[in-house]
């Protein structure tokens, strides 16, 4: 269960950080709180899934790949929602960092989450 906890905490932290980068986009700066919250929630869910996967598949490459996939899919679900003001979709801007966050969470879970996965690279 330690791996699930590590993955969720890391997901929350990285998700919040990823959301905070929206501050650099003046057009959405007034929605920063919502963006950070939703980004964190997305990454916590990703962390939960990655952590559970890591418990059952204690192989670092597999966990990293799973993290990539989960990050990408969840980011895609978010990117499917159009911008409320412009109606545009930001697939690249949301999915690429989302997938990278998934990779980071997956790798860190396998590396630092304890148990056999920590040495199964």
């Amino acid at each position: 269960m330690r791996r699930v906890g590590v993955a969720m905490v890391l997901g929350a932290f990285l998700g919040a950080f990823d959301g905070l980068t929206a501050w650099f986009t003046p057009a959405v700066r007034d929605q920063l709180g919502t963006i950070v919250m939703l980004s964190s929630l997305k990454s916590v869910i990703a962390g939960l899934l990655i952590g559970i996967f890591a418990v059952f598949v204690p192989k670092r490459p597999a966990v990293v790949l799973f993290g990539f996939g989960v990050g990408l899919v969840l980011a895609w679900l978010v990117a499917m929602q159009p911008d409320p003001t412009t109606g545009e979709h930001y697939y690249v801007q949301i999915m690429v960092p989302g997938a990278l966050v998934g990779v980071l969470v997956g790798w860190a879970t396998a590396r630092y989450g304890g148990g056999p996965s920590a040495s199964a690279a």
């Binding site: 650099f24 960092p97 966050v101 980071l104």
Partner: protein, 333 residues
């Protein structure tokens, strides 16, 4: 036995004389141990040590290869025989995966003393190192040597001749510390009292006299080289392990590892690691990317070590930041 004298025969009769090769074969045959009335069948000689030869033999009862160490030097006073048996007894009490197990010891039909041990297939550590440039794998092998030596110390036995040539490495990375012929029994820790467990007298009958130098120069601790027996202890083996580690490191090793060697090879025993396990732990700390106690690191050293330890994380975070920065710079969010 009389050996044919190498005199030159007259030209006419030379062909009927024995050739040098034949003489050598005769010598070999005369030196071959008589395994009559034993369970062993001789296969071939595989090595030669300080006291005797080592033969590969077949254990006909259990159908497995064994190594037989047989005394083959003149020993009128029986001291070498006693030393060989003592080596067998020492090995027999060291049941550890890193130490070759002894199966049997005794006297052959020809009167020579022998002992049978596991036949180790592998290569000497120095040979292994010559073809394996990977430092972490060398360090892992070294750690196993330390563990075997630490076990022997715990059983009250010093090796006193630790060097790469006395370590065998198996095909699967198994490690065996060999050649306990000059080992010293410090104390008798687990023999029952009725077999002399109260002291070391039974073991020390052929022990080294004060002033005698045993070991290998370059790997011997200073106190051992001086023949100062009272000062020889586990830390003397730690010195030899330090010298072995230095050999394994090769050219231009990382500074923390050099510091570990320097501490293990300190001139004063009190300044060395207290035991082989402490040395192994320091090597493990280096392997795990942790700070080694022997090396006072600066800020740059610490940064380098942390980077090495978390290299992938650093690169992943860097990749994320670069991508994020590029998206902000080129796509506006």
């Amino acid at each position: 036995m009389t050996t044919p004298r190498p005199v030159t025969p007259p030209e006419s009769t030379r062909s009927s004389w024995l050739s040098d090769a034949a003489v050598e074969r005769l010598r070999e045959a005369a030196g071959t141990p008589d395994l009559t009335a034993t369970r062993y069948r001789l296969i071939r000689r595989v090595g030669r040590g300080g006291m005797g030869s080592v033969y590969l033999a077949d254990d006909t009862h259990l159908d497995r290869p064994v190594a037989l160490k047989v005394l083959d030097l003149d020993d009128p006073r029986g001291l070498l025989a006693e030393r060989l048996l003592r080596e067998a007894r020492i090995l027999a009490r060291l049941e550890h995966p890193g130490i070759v197990p002894v199966h049997e010891a005794g006297r052959l039909a020809d009167g020579r003393v022998f002992y049978a041990m596991k036949y180790v297939e592998g290569e000497r550590l120095d040979h292994r190192v010559a073809r394996d440039p990977d430092l972490p794998s060398r360090l892992r092998l070294f750690r196993r040597v330390c563990e075997a030596v630490a076990f022997a110390h715990d059983r009250g036995i010093l090796h006193r001749d630790l060097k790469p040539q006395n370590v065998m490495v198996g095909t699967f990375g198994e490690v065996w510390v060999m050649d306990w012929g000059v080992a010293k029994v410090l104390r008798d820790v687990d023999r029952p009292p009725d077999r002399g467990g109260a002291g070391t007298a039974a073991w020390g009958a052929t022990d080294t006299d004060h002033g005698t130098v045993l070991g290998t120069r370059g790997y011997m601790a200073p106190e051992q080289e001086r023949g100062d027996l009272s000062a020889v202890g586990p830390r003397s083996d730690v010195y030899s392990l330090g010298a072995m580690l230095r050999f394994l490191l090769g050219d231009d090793p990382p500074r923390p590892l050099l510091a570990i060697c320097a501490k293990a090879m300190a001139a004063e025993p009190a300044e060395r690691y207290a035991g082989a396990l402490d040395l192994a732990r320091e090597v493990s700390r280096h392997l795990d990317g942790l700070r080694v106690e022997a090396y006072p690191e600066g800020v740059l050293d610490k940064a380098r070590r942390l980077y090495e330890r978390h290299k992938v994380a650093v690169w992943l975070i860097a990749a994320y930041l670069v991508v994020r920065g590029a998206l902000l710079a080129f796509l506006g969010r």
